[in-house]
Every structure is written in structure tokens, then in C-alpha cells.
């Protein structure tokens, strides 16, 4: 039995500070002082709290506000009974700072690798029927904005069959929206915007752009992107605030650039096997590239943040894919092209809108 004197004590019931002595007993101790005789308490129930300038402070498990402070120092005889300080958190305190750091880093690396790579492996194995259901739920009838001028859809379908015979068939529509763009949505739904048709100089150009979007569908990029986006949100969730958001956008953009290049390769292969000249698609990118050139030096730096490769390098890829000695034919004939170009113009029912939202 050892007496330690000079402790102060809060009992957690009132704010009064008691002066107490500590008396050790069988695997525990009691507190003795004026009007106080408490315990016995077990050593193993003690929890180390932050130091007071008077000395080390201990709390008691499951007893809020209960504190003792060894204001007169801790005698060596009981030092071993007292719990060590809590610094970083339980796991790190048990492992040690450096060992914990290395282990966390290893786990994080495996986790990050899974998030980056898993969509590549998983996406091709997701049944297309699931993707189609999700796509139909998301796209619907596009708010009745799909154009259906006479002969237009038939011409478009004929064009699509020339460059893609894959199963299940993709569904391509023209939406009456002024943007110069095309998108691949989940479930093999591809939407061309009217602006792109107006901008196009030939059906071959449309074939090149569509080949690119079909490439996204066949390579399951849409599901991949959805999965990657979800994974990155979890991965970077820990950072919180805007920092995580920016990093997320940057990483996502870098992956979508990879997908864009793969879709271009797909388009080039399809054009080649369908004997459609890549020249017009290259010319389309040349026109886009002229617009980018106006941005000047910024264009190269833009390559970092934009989700598409720069038009100039895309133009080069298409141009180089041309083979001398091949007999190229237009993808659809002049009558079909006329019907397709006017698919929205000839459809008085469809509302014309320049933006997707209003």
C-alpha cells in the first residue's frame, strides 16, 4: 500500500476541485481527502488526458468529467500502472508514427489503384441490358426534341449501318439544338445536335464524328466514366472542400482524354473498313483547330484541363489514316444527305431550342 499525496481531483458531478491523496490497493486505488473517500478504482479504467501545467491528468472510463492530476509528480512505484499518452489516435499510437504512415500509404495506394483501374476491367463485364435500362431511364424521348423530317432518320440509319454493324445496335437521333456537338449517352443512345449537321460540309464528316461516338459505346466508356466518377468521389471524399473537387475534375479529365483518343482510333478503323475517306473528318478538325489557334499559346496548356485532345493532333491522326490506292465512296448518296441535313428543318412538330435547358 502506497500513499501518493498532492493530487487534485474533479469528481465530474460538481466543479469543485478536491485536494486528495491516492492510496493503492489490490490492482487499483482509492482517493482520500477532506469529505472525500472514493473508490476503489481499477488502474485499467484510467485514460490519459492532456497535461495540466500542474502535472499529468487522467480520466476514468465511462465517467464524464472525472479527473485526477498528479500535481506533486508521479512516483516511480505506480508509473507502470498508468496508461501512456494518447497522441495521434489509437491505431497510430499502437503502431508508431512511421510504421503507421507506411502502412496507410500502402493501403491507400492499393485503394487508389483499384479506383483507377477497376472501371477498365469491370465496365466491359456489365451486361449491356443494364446499361440500356439506365440509359432509357435517363434519356427518355429527349423532351420531344428529336427531329423526324421525311427520309432523314432513314438516311441517318443507313449511314450508321455503313460504319457499325455491332450488336446490340446503337440508336442515333438528331436533337433540334443549336450546339455543334454530339454525345454518347448510356445504353447505346447517341445524340447529334442540329448545330453539328449545319456545320458539316459532307456526310463523311458526320460518319467520322459518329464513328467516334460509337467507339465510346462499343468500348463501354460511358459506364466506365460513371464508375470512375463515383470511385473518385469516394477516394477524394477525405480531402473535403474544393481541393478534392478540383483534383477530381483534373484526374477525370485526364482519363476522359484517354477515352477520347481510343474513340478516335475506333472511328478511324471503322472508316477504313467501310472505305469512307477520312479527309472530311480531318478537315472538320482543321476548322476546329483554326478556332483553337486564335487562343494561341494557351491552347497547349489547355490540353491539361480540356477533356478532348487538341483538334490539331486529331486532324493529323485522321489525315494520316488515308491509304493511297483505296477507292473511297461517300457514305450516303446526295439525296440521303439532303434528307439528313434537313431532318429538323422539315419537321414542323419539333420545338427548336438553342439550349438543352430552356
Amino acid at each position: 500500500m502506497i500513499d501518493v499525496s498532492g493530487l487534485w481531483h474533479y469528481d465530474g458531478r460538481t466543479a469543485i476541485r478536491h485536494k486528495v491523496d491516492l492510496r493503492t490497493g489490490d490492482d487499483g486505488f482509492s482517493l482520500i481527502g477532506d469529505n472525500v473517500d472514493m473508490g476503489p478504482y481499477r488502474w485499467s479504467d484510467l485514460v490519459r488526458r492532456d497535461n495540466s501545467p500542474d502535472g499529468p491528468v487522467y480520466g476514468l472510463k465511462d465517467k464524464a468529467g472525472w479527473r485526477i492530476c498528479f500535481a506533486g509528480g508521479v512516483p516511480d512505484a505506480i508509473r507502470d500502472q498508468l496508461p501512456g499518452p494518447a497522441r495521434y489516435g489509437r491505431w497510430v499510437d499502437q503502431l508508431g508514427f512511421w510504421r503507421a504512415s507506411v502502412m496507410f500509404l500502402a493501403v491507400s495506394a492499393v485503394f487508389a489503384l483499384a479506383v483507377f483501374k477497376a472501371p477498365d476491367w469491370l465496365a466491359p463485364n456489365i451486361p449491356f441490358a443494364w446499361e440500356k435500362q439506365m440509359g432509357d431511364a435517363m434519356v427518355g424521348d429527349f423532351g420531344g426534341r428529336f427531329c423526324n423530317g421525311p427520309g432523314g432518320q432513314a438516311a441517318l440509319d443507313a449511314l450508321v449501318r455503313k460504319i457499325d454493324q455491332g450488336k446490340p445496335a446503337v440508336r442515333v437521333h438528331v436533337a433540334n439544338i443549336g450546339m455543334v456537338n454530339a454525345v454518347a449517352l448510356p445504353g447505346g443512345n447517341i445524340v447529334l445536335f442540329r448545330g453539328l449537321l449545319q456545320e458539316a460540309k459532307s456526310p463523311d464528316e458526320i460518319a467520322g464524328v459518329l464513328g467516334h461516338e460509337i467507339g465510346h459505346v462499343r468500348k463501354r466508356h460511358v459506364v466506365q466514366a460513371l464508375m470512375r466518377q463515383a470511385g473518385l468521389s469516394v477516394l477524394l471524399g477525405g480531402f473535403g472542400g474544393n481541393g478534392g473537387g478540383y483534383l477530381n475534375a483534373m484526374l477525370a479529365a485526364s482519363y476522359s482524354r484517354e477515352a477520347e483518343s481510343a474513340a478516335d482510333d475506333y472511328a478511324i478503323r471503322q472508316l477504313k473498313s467501310a472505305r469512307i475517306s477520312p479527309d472530311d473528318t480531318a478537315a472538320f478538325f482543321a476548322r476546329m483547330s483554326a478556332q483553337e489557334a486564335k487562343l494561341g499559346e494557351a491552347a497547349a496548356a489547355l490540353g491539361y484541363v480540356s477533356s478532348h485532345p487538341l483538334s490539331q493532333s486529331r486532324e493529323r491522326a485522321f489525315r494520316q489514316s488515308k491509304q493511297a490506292g483505296t477507292a473511297y465512296a461517300p457514305v450516303i448518296d446526295a439525296d440521303q444527305w439532303a434528307a439528313l441535313s434537313d431532318i429538323c428543318h422539315n419537321d414542323p412538330k419539333v420545338p427548336a431550342e438553342d439550349s438543352l435547358f430552356f
Binding site: 474533479y10 469528481d11 465530474g12 458531478r13 460538481t14 466543479a15 469543485i16 476541485r17 488526458r49 492532456d50 497535461n51 495540466s52 464524464a64 468529467g65 479527473r67 495521434y88 489516435g89 497510430v92 508514427f97 503507421a100 504512415s101 507506411v102 496507410f104 500509404l105 491507400s108 485503394f111 487508389a112 483507377f116 435517363m138 434519356v139 427518355g140 424521348d141 429527349f142 423532351g143 420531344g144 468521389s233 477516394l235 477524394l236 471524399g237 477525405g238 480531402f239 473535403g240 472542400g241 474544393n242 481541393g243 478534392g244 478540383y246 483534373m250 484526374l251 485526364s254 482524354r257 497547349a300 490540353g303 491539361y304 485532345p309 487538341l310 493532333s313 438543352l356 435547358f357 430552356f358
Partner: protein, 397 residues
């Protein structure tokens, strides 16, 4: 125990940033290797330090919150707020694509209202959590109110506050402050808050009117310059006008806002009571200005350093070929990310230290405390921390 005598303040802070630095550096290291998830434990270590260096009368404050609580709060918010929001975003997209823009609009509007409600709930619960984890003499604070009603008050008072061109903002801020603090307690005692908002109007109007006055003066200068000195006078007048307008927006307006905020804080804390204790907050506009300039200076300094390091590293890691530049390797992106994340992570801790020091330095209390009647709080202890506040990126109080 009588406190608040002439020569001794009830609150004092004796922390040292050199003691905090090792805490912040190890927090940063562990946060990086855990992809940011350590930050909940990091914030806890930071608060334990700040609280333990804060003296009230004869003893320190003690922070008893844990990283696990904050982490659970974070998970809860993800589950009940962000997952539904994520799914609703698809619903909204589907509605828009089907042409039901009106429905989508209603959906967005209701989401906006929900956001207000959640923000109010977050402020209330954040304050409640912090009080419940703050111990002094073994006694803690808290609230019996879970804050669901406060969420509604916050929603409608904020909306009403923006009526009449925002002139009722001082009213909404004041009334929300007192509603919140009147529901908080420490030990057995309830906080009582009875601030007046009328006295704040003069400063609020000043900060409201500064840009308008500047604009009118600027127009007058241009007109006068053009009338008196022909084209050159007009040019000089125009330049002066631009300087005046920009100056009023970027310099005068923030200072006016700070002046309003200083008065607001003095009124709010000066009218706060806890049983026989009354509080006082002494920071004036110039104190706030020094605090803010110091904080901004810290960010600028560290970002300048980070940029210098980035440009040295960047030259080495960026690929030379412009074609490869369009596909930067992940390693480059990671380095850029770290150069942004490291200063942000570190400066945040020092800024919170400065803010806390500022707050305690200017906080005073007077009156009597009867230690025997300061008994343990009977309020429920929240099981999880301020996840909502954290998710919405909002401050405390």
C-alpha cells in the same frame, strides 16, 4: 469565486505556434498517406492543443471530442445527404431530357430550401457538439434541443432577411444568434442572450451604401472632367472614377463589412449571460483588420513559396514534347496536387490558431461563479461530431 478584476482577465491563452507546428506537420503527413481521412483525427489534436492552452480563471479548458466522432458525423452526412443528392441529380437530368423543365425547376427550388434548412441545422448542431466536448473543472456544456426547429427558423429568417434589398440582414443574424445561444447550456445553467440589432444598422448601412456612394461620386467626376477639360480631362476623370469604384469594392467594402462584423460580435457576446456570469468582447474593427490581413498574408506567403517550389519541380517533371503535354502522367498531376494541398493543409491550421488566439485574447468575463452549484450537464452527449458543418464548409459559433 469572483472574477474579472481590473488587473486580471478571466480568459487567457498561452499557446505557441512553435508547439503547434509539430502537430500540424504530423497531421499533414498522416492526412496525405490516408488520402485525407486522417483530418478528422488531426482536427481533434489541433483542438486539444488550443483548448489545453486556454485558461479560464484557475484552470484550463479541455477538449474531449474524438476523431472517430467527427469521422462518424462525416459518414452520416454522406449517407443521408450526399447519396440522395447524387441520385436526385440523375432524376433532375432525366426530367430535363424529357422536357419537364418545370418539374425539374420545382425540384431544384425545393433542394435549395432543403440546403438552407440543413445549413441552419449544421450551425446549431456544430455549436452544440463543441460545447458538449468542452470541459472546465470536469463540467461540460451542451443542449437538450437537437436543432430541428432551428433549421426552420434559419430558413425563413434568412429568406425574410434578404427582403427589402437585404436591409433586414442585421435583424436575421441577431435573432438567429440569440435563438441559438438561448438553447445552449453549460453545466446546469442556460445561456441567456438578448442582443439588440438596432445599434448595428448604422454600420450595416455604411457598408451597404459605400459602393453606391462611390459609383455616384465616380459618375460625377467623369461628368465634371468631361465638362471642364475636354477629352483629356474626361480620360483622367474616367481613370480616377475606375480607381474609385474598384477601391470601394475591394478595399472600402470589406473594411465596412469588417466594421459591421466587429460591432455585431461585440453586441452578441456583450449581451450573453451564463447564470451570474456576463461576457464581453473587446475586438474593434482595427483588431479584426490586423487579424484578417495577417491571415491573408500567411496564405500569400505560403502560396508564393509553393509556386517557387512548383516552378523548380515543374521544369523537371513536365514532358518536353507538346504532344505528351496533352497527356500528363499521373505523377505530374499528383505533384501539382500536393503542391496545392500541402500549403492549404498547413496554413489552415495556423489560421485557426490565430483566430482562436484572437478570440480568447478579446474575450472577457465578469461576475461570480459558485463551483458547488456548477454541476454536471444533463444534456445528451451527441454521438457524432459536426459532420454537417464540415460537409458544408462552414465555420463555428
Amino acid at each position: 469565486m469572483g472574477i474579472g478584476t481590473q488587473d486580471e482577465t478571466a480568459f487567457s491563452f498561452d499557446g505557441d505556434w512553435r508547439e503547434l507546428a509539430p502537430i500540424l506537420f504530423t497531421n499533414l503527413m498522416l492526412s496525405i498517406v490516408t488520402l485525407g481521412f486522417y483530418r478528422f483525427w488531426g482536427i481533434t489534436r489541433e483542438r486539444r492543443y488550443l483548448w489545453s492552452k486556454t485558461r479560464f480563471i484557475d484552470d484550463r479548458l479541455e477538449w474531449t471530442g474524438t476523431g472517430k466522432e467527427l469521422f462518424l458525423g462525416f459518414l452520416l452526412v454522406i449517407a443521408i445527404l450526399f447519396v440522395p443528392l447524387f441520385l436526385l441529380q440523375f432524376v433532375a437530368q432525366a426530367l430535363i431530357l424529357r422536357g419537364h423543365t418545370a418539374f425539374a425547376g420545382v425540384l431544384f427550388l425545393s433542394l435549395y430550401l432543403v440546403f438552407f434548412y440543413v445549413a441552419g441545422l449544421a450551425i446549431f448542431r456544430g455549436l452544440r457538439y463543441r460545447l458538449s466536448r468542452t470541459h472546465w473543472h470536469g463540467i461540460r456544456g451542451g443542449s437538450d434541443d437537437p436543432g430541428f426547429g432551428y433549421g426552420w427558423s434559419y430558413t425563413w429568417k434568412t429568406i425574410v432577411g434578404s427582403f427589402v434589398l437585404g436591409l433586414l440582414i442585421p435583424w436575421s443574424m441577431t435573432s438567429l444568434w440569440s435563438e441559438r445561444w438561448n438553447r445552449m447550456s453549460f453545466g446546469p445553467h442556460n445561456f441567456e442572450s438578448g442582443p439588440e440589432w438596432g445599434g448595428l444598422m448604422r454600420r450595416f448601412l455604411l457598408c451597404y451604401l459605400a459602393p453606391v456612394v462611390a459609383l455616384i461620386v465616380a459618375i460625377a467626376i467623369v461628368v465634371a472632367g468631361a465638362a471642364s477639360g475636354g477629352s483629356s480631362g474626361g480620360m483622367a476623370g474616367g481613370a480616377l472614377a475606375v480607381v474609385l469604384v474598384l477601391g470601394s469594392i475591394y478595399i472600402v467594402l470589406p473594411i465596412m463589412a469588417l466594421a459591421y462584423y466587429a460591432a455585431f460580435f461585440r453586441e452578441m457576446i456583450g449581451t450573453l449571460r451564463l447564470s451570474t456570469l456576463n461576457f464581453h468582447f473587446s475586438a474593434r474593427t482595427k483588431d479584426w483588420l490586423v487579424l484578417m490581413l495577417g491571415n491573408i498574408g500567411l496564405y500569400v506567403l505560403v502560396f508564393a513559396l509553393a509556386l517557387a517550389v512548383a516552378s523548380m519541380l515543374g521544369v523537371a517533371t513536365l514532358p518536353k514534347d507538346p504532344q505528351a503535354l496533352a497527356h500528363p502522367p499521373i505523377a505530374t498531376l499528383a505533384i501539382i496536387g500536393l503542391i496545392v494541398a500541402i500549403p492549404l493543409g498547413l496554413v489552415g491550421g495556423f489560421v485557426r490558431y490565430r483566430n482562436w488566439h484572437f478570440f480568447i485574447r478579446h474575450l472577457e468575463a465578469g461576475g461570480e461563479i459558485d463551483l458547488a452549484s456548477l454541476t454536471q450537464s444533463s444534456t445528451p452527449e451527441p454521438r457524432q461530431g459536426e459532420g454537417l458543418l464540415d460537409a458544408l464548409d462552414m465555420g463555428g459559433f
